[in-house]
C-alpha cells in the first residue's frame, strides 16, 4: 500500500492554518473568527497526528496529545461562545471591530 507522503499532510495542514489565520484576522463576524481559530487548531492536530505516524520517531504520544487538544478546544469554544453571548447581550452586536474595549 502506497501511503500518502508526509509532505502532503503538512501541505494540507499549512493550507488549513493559513485559511484559519486569514479568517481570524480579517472576518468581522466574531462567530466566524472563532470558527477560524478552530480551523487553526485542527491544522495543528493534523500535524501532530502526521508526525506521530510518519515522523522520525513514530509514537502514540502525538495522537494522545491530539485528543487532549480536541478536548481543550471544545472547552475553549464553549467558553468563547458564552463570552460572546454575554457581550451580545450587553452590546447587541457580534461585529469584532466594534469590540474595542481594550482601548480603554
Amino acid at each position: 500500500m502506497t501511503s500518502v507522503p508526509l509532505n502532503a499532510y503538512l501541505m494540507l495542514a499549512l493550507i488549513l492554518f493559513c485559511i484559519g489565520l486569514f479568517g481570524a484576522l480579517t472576518k468581522r463576524n466574531t462567530v466566524i473568527v472563532l470558527i477560524s481559530i478552530e480551523l487553526m487548531l485542527n491544522a495543528v492536530n493534523i500535524n501532530l497526528v502526521a508526525f506521530s505516524k510518519l515522523g522520525m520517531h513514530p509514537s502514540i504520544t502525538g495522537q494522545v496529545f491530539t485528543l487532549f487538544t480536541i478536548t481543550v478546544a471544545a472547552a475553549e469554544a464553549a467558553v468563547a461562545l458564552a463570552i460572546l453571548m454575554a457581550l451580545f447581550r450587553n452590546r447587541s452586536t457580534v461585529q469584532i471591530d466594534e469590540m474595542d474595549g481594550m482601548k480603554h
Binding site: A24, L25, I96, M99, D100, G101, M102, K103, H104
Partner: protein, 620 residues
Amino acid sequence: MCDKLLPYAWLIPVFPFVSFIMLLAFRHRLQAYSSYIGSALTGLSLVAAIVVWVTGWSVQSVQHTGVWLAFESVELQMGTWITPLNLVMLNIVAFISVCVHIYSHTYMKDERRRSTYFAWLGLFTAAMLGLCLSPNLLQFYMCWELVGLGSFLLIGFHFEEDKAKAAAKKAFIMTRIGDIGLLAGLILLYWQTGSLQFTDIYTVISSGELEAFHVTLISLLIFAGAVGKSGQLPLHTWLPDAMEGPTPVSALIHAATMVAAGVYLVAVLHPLFMASDTALTVVAVTGGVTATVAAVIAIAQTDIKRILAYSTISQLGYMMLALGSAALAAGVFHLMTHAFFKALLFLTAGVVIHHFKTRNIHQMGHAFSELRFTGMTFLIGTLAISGFPLFSGFFSKEAVLSAVWHDERYLLFSLALLTTFLTAFYMFRLFFIVFMGQGKPTSGPKKALSMALRLPIAALSVPAIGAGFLYTPWFSAFGNWITQWQTAQIDPGHEVPWWMMPSAIMCSLAGIMLAWVMYQKLRVPLRELPYLHAFTLRGFYMDELYHYTIKQPLQFMSTTTVYIEKFVVETVMESSSSFVKWVGKYGARLQSGQVQTYGAVGFVGLSILVFILFWTGGYF
C-alpha cells in the same frame, strides 16, 4: 562662695530671654506691662551679672559646660565661661540694656507694638549676653547670628517705612558678608586645632604647633567677621543706615550689643592675632583708616543720628587700632568707656529729636535754654568722646594712642592723633549747632522730662565722666586684670612719653576751639567747599561705589541669567517635553483596541523574525 554662685552664671542671659518669650507669647495681653516686664527681667540679669562680677573678681578662667551634642568622637559643649574680659562685657551689656529698657518705657509710650519692641530688645540682649558667656566658638557663633537677627528686627521695627525695611536688610546682608569669613575661619580653626573651646585654642596657640600661614589665614578670616559686625571699613555702610531704627535701639546697637561683638571677638581671640604679625597689622591699619575716614565723613553730616553713627564707626576703629597694636587692655577699655558715653549721647539725642521732631541739625538750635538737663548730659557725652581731660574718653583714648606709639606704628599714630582732633571738631560742631545755634524757640508747652527718661541718662553720665579713672598711666590695675588671664603676662602698662598727654589734650582742645570759632563765633557754613562737602556728606560715595561696582554687575548678571533661563533653558525643556507629548499623542493611536490588528501585527512580526532566522541560518 565663688564656687557656689558661678555655676549659675548661665542665668544671666536667661532672664532677658524669658522676657522675650513671655512678651512674644502674650503680646496683646501684656501690652501695657511690657516695659515693666522687660525692664525688670533685664534688671535681674544686671543684678546677676554684678553678683557674678563680685564673686568672680579674682577668677582667671572658670568654665561650666555640659555636653550639648555628641558625635562619634566629637563632643559639642554648651555652658558658661567666666573671665575678667567676660565680666566686663556682661556688666556693660546688662547695664546699657537696662538703661535702654527704662528709657524706652517713655520713649515708646505711644507705640502700637510695644510688647513686640520689648520682646526684640530682650532677644537682642539675651543673644549678646550669651555671646559674652560662650566658652566655645560654636555657641559664640550661634549667639553672634542671633545678635544679627535681633538687630535686623529692631532696625526694621518700623517696617511700614521703606527706608527702615531697606536699612534692616542692608544691616543683615552687610554683616552676613563678614559672617561668611567668620564661619570659614571657625571651620579652619577646628580643622587645625581639633577644638572650638577657647581655652583649648589658647593652649594650641601657645604651644606654637600651628603653621604661621594657617594662623594668619584663620585670624584674617575671623577678622572679616569682626569687620562686618563692628562696622569697619569697607563693610561699615550698614551702620549709618541702621539709624532708621528707634533711637534707644541705636543706643543699644552702638554701645553694647551689636558692634561691640566684633571687638569682643578680636579681644577674646587676641592670642591668635598676636601669633601673626600680618594679622595684627591688618587689624591696626583697618582700625586706623576707619577711624579717620569715618571722622571726616562725620564732619559734613546733617542728620544728628548719622553724625553719632559715624562717630561710632570712628571710635570702633580706635578699638581695632588698639587691639591691632597688641594692646588688649586699651582696646577693651575704650570699648567700655565708649559704651557709656555713646549710649548717653544717643539717649540724649533721642530727647532732642523728640523735642524738635526732626533729625536735621540745621533745623535745631537753642536747645540748651529749653532742655537744660539734656544739654548738660549731652555736653558730658560730647566732652567724653572728644577726649577732654579727666573725662572717661580722655583716658581711654590716651591709652589707645600710647599703645599705638609703643607698637611703633607712627603713621597710624598720627592718623589717630588727627582723628582725636576731628572727633572733637565734629562733636562740638554738633553741640554748638544743636544746643547753642540760633534756631527759633519751639512753640508748644514745655514739659519736664519724665523720670524714666532722666534716670538712665543720669545713670549713664556718671560712668561717662568717671570710668576713665580705672585705667590711667598711674593706675593700671584694670590692664593687669583684663590681660593677665589670657596671656599669663603682666600688662606692661603704658609708659607714656611726656609729650603724649599734652599733645592729645592740644588736639582735642584745638578741635573744640575750631568748632567754636566756625559755628559759634563766625558761623561759617561748611558748604563753602562744594565738591568736598558733597563728597564727605555722601560718605565718600561709598554706597554709590558699592552700587556701581557690586550691585549693578550683580544685577546685570542676574538679568542675563534670567534671560538665559527664560530663552535657553526653558526652550530646551519645553521642546523635550513637547516631543514626549507628541510621541505619546501619536503613539496612542496604535492602541486601537482592534484585536485583529494586534493579531496581524503579531503575525507580521513573527514572520519577520522567522525570516531573519532562516536568512542568517540559525541563532544570531
